[in-house]
Amino acid sequence: MRIPSVKCLLSPQLVALLGVLLFNWIVFPGFFDVAWRDGRFFGSLVDVINRGAPVAILSIGMTAIIATRGVDLSVGAVMAVAGAVAATCAVTGQPVIIMLLAPLAVGMLCGLWNGFLVSILGIQPFVATLVLMVAGRGVAQLITEGSIVTFNDPVLIFIGTGSFLGLPMPAVIAIALMVGAHLLVRRTAIGLFIEAIGINRSAANYTALRSRSLVLAIYAFGGVCAAIAGTIAAGDIRGADANNTGLWLELDAILAVVIGGTSLMGGRFSIPLSVVGALIIQAMNTGILVSGFPPEFNLIVKAGLIIIILVLQSAKLAPALDRIFKQRPVQPSIQTSEKTG
């Protein structure tokens, strides 16, 4: 991979993440303490990447979808469905391979359904995925009959709570998925085509980009990402909570993507920056948890931080920031349109 340029390290997203982490440190001085315990890292910082993983994974799929000028509101519901499927497989004693593949297959099916509505039937993404957002949670509850299906399967529990090289499994999965997805879109032409479709669908048609199959595939990928997140969420609490898994997470995922700099009007996107966006959101949540503010202030704090982040990276202010950074004699603005990372 190319070495990220200084400019991208100074991207407003990373500055914002740093800012939120500093904020957390101010309200809770032990925030950066990391200990090694039972073969894994332990600390608030680790919690941020661990708890941020599901939204990060959702945002990976969501980034590509939004880049095509779409949106997927159903990811939260698909998480619930996938979790329910995984849990059901676990309690009915299915072989591990089925237990792991079944939720992914279901997630892909959900994604294909969304993609079918959007790309073949031409329904607006917002409503097309609203259908599954509503019905999907019903399906999940149908599978679990409204209760929390608890399981003791070591593999699922490992996925949700295990660790690898000292890092929590969810974070490892998220990082692997991020790197994989990023390489997939940037080392092939897929990324370019996604952007082209998002920027000008009509021109994409004139250029013979096979927009339909690509859009279909992207929604399917979004469904798979949601399924992975759902499996992790189930493994985390050792049970499938169809009522609450992924509830309102679609908004967090979209927020992460937008904080990551992808426009809801489609076009240029960056998967790593979306993941940074997800981390910013989680850092905010964790910060609120450890800060000791009364919970009725949670939303206000969150709103305040979002506004600050937005102002930081606002289109109008960005040039001003740029100028400040440019004054330092670091690598004079090698302005590549290549995406970061």
């Binding site: 031409g122 509850q141 202030f297 979002i306 937005l310």
Partner: protein, 326 residues
């Protein structure tokens, strides 16, 4: 007929047919009671959805409506029940506050060029947060004025009630329709949704219009909050959670394009009524478990959208795809 109105006609037709089918299955659904309930029960949703229609036609989105409804209700309740203000004065204060709240969001959207999705999401957090700081519990409002308004209704033959808030909703739709289709501001809203760059070059004052659109949306959110507080005689910080999605769905079912630039206020009324119809149908059925309820709502939503798509895909194919990428 002007082809522009075809989708609207199709949506209306779908509603009529769907209602007809419901009546065939449950004759009880053909009563003035149900018709009256449609208006009364959906009054606050309808009012909020009018605001959402403007926002969506302009190519934006407003996720803060539900929170504004909740906040407005709580503020009214605090002013009336705790501070002893007359409801009318409280209404005035709340409407002004909501309009300012929306204007502030519009200003951020316009001047800082931040996507409306995010600004209004922050607005949603802010409004909900303020509401739950003001009061965590729901505050009952027992002012006689509230009773008077809720007792104001026209009794239809057959036991139905044409309530004041139901009529207010119709009035808001009427005024909304006039603003959208018969005023300069309305045409600016469409222009902005069509192509903001062109609109600016053609002399549309994009800044004031953007601010106006979000102010209007929040103002109607505040009004919807007042109606909700009348409807439940209380202010509750968690009121109307998720209403923004319902109202957006109503707008879209009503034939408005989320990409902006195309839609009708009247279509939104049909969208709201269709949603009410689905819920009433499910209540009449009464056999669906919680999860089957969700699945049924999803499936019905899908059927409506599909039908609509089939009806006006021909209309869309030619014209819409040509939309310039700004």
């Amino acid at each position: 007929m002007n082809p522009r109105y075809r989708p609207l006609a199709a949506t209306t037709l779908i509603f009529v047919v769907a209602y007809g089918l419901c009546i065939l299955q449950y004759p009880g659904m053909w009563s003035t009671r149900i018709l009256g309930n449609f208006l009364t029960d959906n009054a606050f949703l309808g009012i909020a959805a009018v605001g959402a229609t403007f926002v969506i036609i302009s190519g934006g989105i407003d996720l803060s409506i539900g929170a504004v409804i909740g906040l407005a209700g709580v503020v009214v309740a605090v002013l009336v029940s705790h501070l002893g203000l007359h409801p009318i004065a409280a209404f005035g204060i709340v409407l002004t506050m909501s309009a300012l709240f929306g204007a502030a969001m519009g200003a951020v959207i316009h001047f800082l060029q931040v996507p409306p999705f995010i600004v209004t999401l922050a607005g949603m957090f802010l409004a909900r947060g303020l509401a739950s700081i003001l009061s965590q519990d729901s505050i009952p409002i027992s002012h006689p004025f509230y009773k008077t308004i809720m007792d104001l209704y026209y009794r239809l033959p057959g036991g139905g009630r044409l309530s004041a808030i139901g009529l207010l909703m119709l009035l808001v739709f009427l005024i909304g329709g006039l603003i959208a289709h018969r005023t300069r501001f309305g045409s600016y809203v469409y222009a902005l949704g069509g192509n903001p760059t062109s609109a600016a070059l053609m002399g549309v004052p994009t800044g004031p219009v953007t601010i106006g659109i979000y102010a209007l949306s929040s103002l109607l959110g505040g009004l919807a909050g007042i109606v909700y507080s009348l409807y439940t005689s209380a202010g509750y910080p968690l009121a109307a959670v998720g209403i923004e999605l319902d109202s957006i769905a109503a707008v879209v079912i009503g034939g408005t394009l989320l990409t902006g630039g195309y839609g009708f206020v009247f279509g939104t009324l049909i969208g709201v009524m269709l949603q009410g119809l689905v819920q009433t149908y499910i209540v009449f059925d009464g056999t669906l478990s919680s999860w089957w309820t969700k699945i049924a709502i999803g499936v019905l939503l899908f059927l409506f959208i599909l039908l609509q798509q089939l009806v006006f895909s021909a209309h869309k194919a030619g014209a819409r795809l040509k939309k310039a990428a700004a």
